[in-house]
């Protein structure tokens, strides 16, 4: 009951956020955004044809009508069909979102798990050389642009100038082998890029926790280090860790990793969205942005509920 009430209240509080996100994105992407008129015109168009196309796309309607239409679509979760392909937006999302998840998930999980391990290692040896080495490498890793990593990995792993072991691009997941074949290089790139940031973040969280009194108490009672790190440090760091992880999920699930997907030519949601921006495919854009906002609100709720699971001090009031 308390939970239900809490969830309802959180969802209610999310409404202004959703309205804000939809309004801003509608203004920017739809109202002032690119339109499809000139991509849908024939080679030798007349002004009448231009007007017809605009009418067909609904561009001639007043702002309020169009925005209200957007909200209605969001409420019914029916965004119609893509302007450029005619594919229903739901089908498009259903097709691309799993790809994005499958693409980013391994890198995301590895990037976080590995970072937590490195952070524990660094924190355990705080101010000594393993810490300095790990943190130094983290800064180096943070200093390399994602773009450079992708290009470099492609040269190293996928080109004739390098190992030539993996495909340059593309996607397939009909078998585990095929999946691994395609996902490995993007995963390595994602891990490489996120590792530095994640490690630093987790280290600072862990180091802060390690200075807490209860850790000293546990040490004074002879708790072995592994148990100390797990029960006293990691278990108490779960709130920032959970927050960081959960809040990255909407971005992955809805907007995917735009750069990875467009560079590796993976038909995920990021690429679909990017393509939609480039041609002004408004139904797709509206769906993606609207759903991202909704997912963010849900993530907030989810995080708060998780907080209570990981920390008994948190109450849902």
């Amino acid at each position: 009951m308390e939970m239900l009430q809490y969830s309802l209240r959180k969802l209610l509080a999310g409404i202004p956020l959703i309205l804000g996100v939809t309004l801003v994105s509608f203004l920017l992407m739809v109202y002032f955004g690119p339109d499809q008129t000139y991509t849908l015109l024939g080679k030798n168009p007349t002004p009448e044809q231009i007007a017809e196309v605009r009418a067909q796309l609904g561009y001639d309607q007043p702002f309020v009508t169009r925005y209200a239409g957007y909200l209605r679509e969001l409420a019914t979760l029916d965004f119609g069909s893509s302007h450029s392909t005619g594919e229903p937006v739901s089908a498009l999302l259903g097709r691309t979102a799993p790809v994005s998840l499958a693409l980013v998930a391994p890198g995301f999980v590895l990037g976080n798990v590995l970072a937590i391990l490195l952070a524990l290692l660094a924190a355990h040896h705080r101010s000594r050389w393993p810490d300095k080495a790990i943190m130094g490498l983290a800064v180096v890793g943070m200093s390399i642009s994602f773009l450079i990593v992708i290009v470099a990995f492609q040269i190293v792993f996928s080109s004739a100038s390098g190992l030539n072991m993996f495909p340059v691009r593309g996607w397939g997941a009909s078998s585990l082998r095929e999946y691994l074949h395609f996902v490995t290089v993007p995963t390595l790139a994602i891990v490489f890029v996120s590792l530095g940031y994640n490690t630093r973040f987790y280290r600072s969280v862990i180091v802060e926790e390690m200075t807490r009194d209860h850790v000293r108490t546990a040490r004074a009672f002879g708790t072995p280090p592994a148990r100390l790190m797990l029960r006293n440090v990691l278990a108490n760091c779960l709130i920032p860790i959970v927050t960081r992880i959960v809040f990255s999920i909407p971005l992955i699930a809805i907007s995917g990793s735009l750069i990875v997907e467009s560079y590796f030519g993976i038909p995920g949601i990021g690429k679909a969205t990017y393509d939609a921006i480039m041609v002004g495919d408004q139904p797709v854009l509206k769906a993606v942005v609207g759903l991202t906002a909704v997912l963010f609100v849900l993530a907030q709720l989810f995080v708060d509920i998780l907080y209570r699971a990981v920390d008994p001090r948190v109450s849902l009031q």
Binding site: Q5, L8, R9, L12, Q317
Partner: protein
Amino acid sequence: MSALLEVRDLRKHFPVRGGLLRRVVAQVKAVDGVSFTLEAGRTLGLVGESGCGKSTLGRAILRLQRPTGGQVLLEGRDLATLPPAELIAMRREMQIIFQDPFASLSPRRTVAQIIREPLDVHGIGTPEERARRVLELLDVVGMRAAVQDRYPHEFSGGQRQRIGIARALALNPKLIVADEPVSALDVSVRSQVLNLIAKLQRERGIAFLFISHDLSVVRHVSDQVGVMYLGKLVELAPTHELFTNPRHPYTEALLSAVPVPDPRRKAKRIVLAGDVPSPMNPPPGCPFHTRCPKALPYCSQAVPQPVDVGSPGRPHSVACHLYT
């Protein structure tokens, strides 16, 4: 002597929100109906355990927090309802000294800037006069003029506390609320600061509301002592009277609990059961009845009103059913 400060039935409640629409579902009654008077140039000590509402009381009196109800009359004017513009003018009359010598001084401002700020705000004197006044104040609190260009972090706790006192004195207030001014200080420094406060009061006739959890300190500086428990003033008496003849069971327990720094004088101790209840759900009736060794059945039903159990000229008020 007329009363400088008169507090009547002062209340400060903090709403607790809950439910679907974040409605107010409960009140934390931090201060719940406190009345007393303080005469000019005297010191009222306020003791109580953490969470009893003594700091909130101090802030509500200065209207650093807006009271929920009741009146605060400073020289007859009700601070609780004063409009903001007049309130700012009234702030010349009353000041505060804080507990934490580290947090109470802005780290990015020099000592002179800190001490001069009240003068700047209230537009007192020319810049030269203000500068002179800063030196004067530093001298009063026993610091050398050379320190005025330094920053707070360069000083020790005791010295920062002196700077805080100098700032409080800048406007020549009639009332100073001292909120645990020495509890963060070491023993040897503490007596320096206590002596300074005593000297100021003696020489300048400032009234102090001295808030502390340390009974021995309160005993040392106060003319009158009030004991707070769960937002209520349970006992108020002249210092000597209170310490030698406590009437409220809580006061008795409190006094007996203080460790005596004399191994030969092992006191007989009244050990209280349990802990202080939450101010969000104070027990009905007398707030102390859950822990009171002398509680009667009636205590859980009615809130005891303060009664005077003192002798003429030595008012001793106590809120306990044992005396009604």
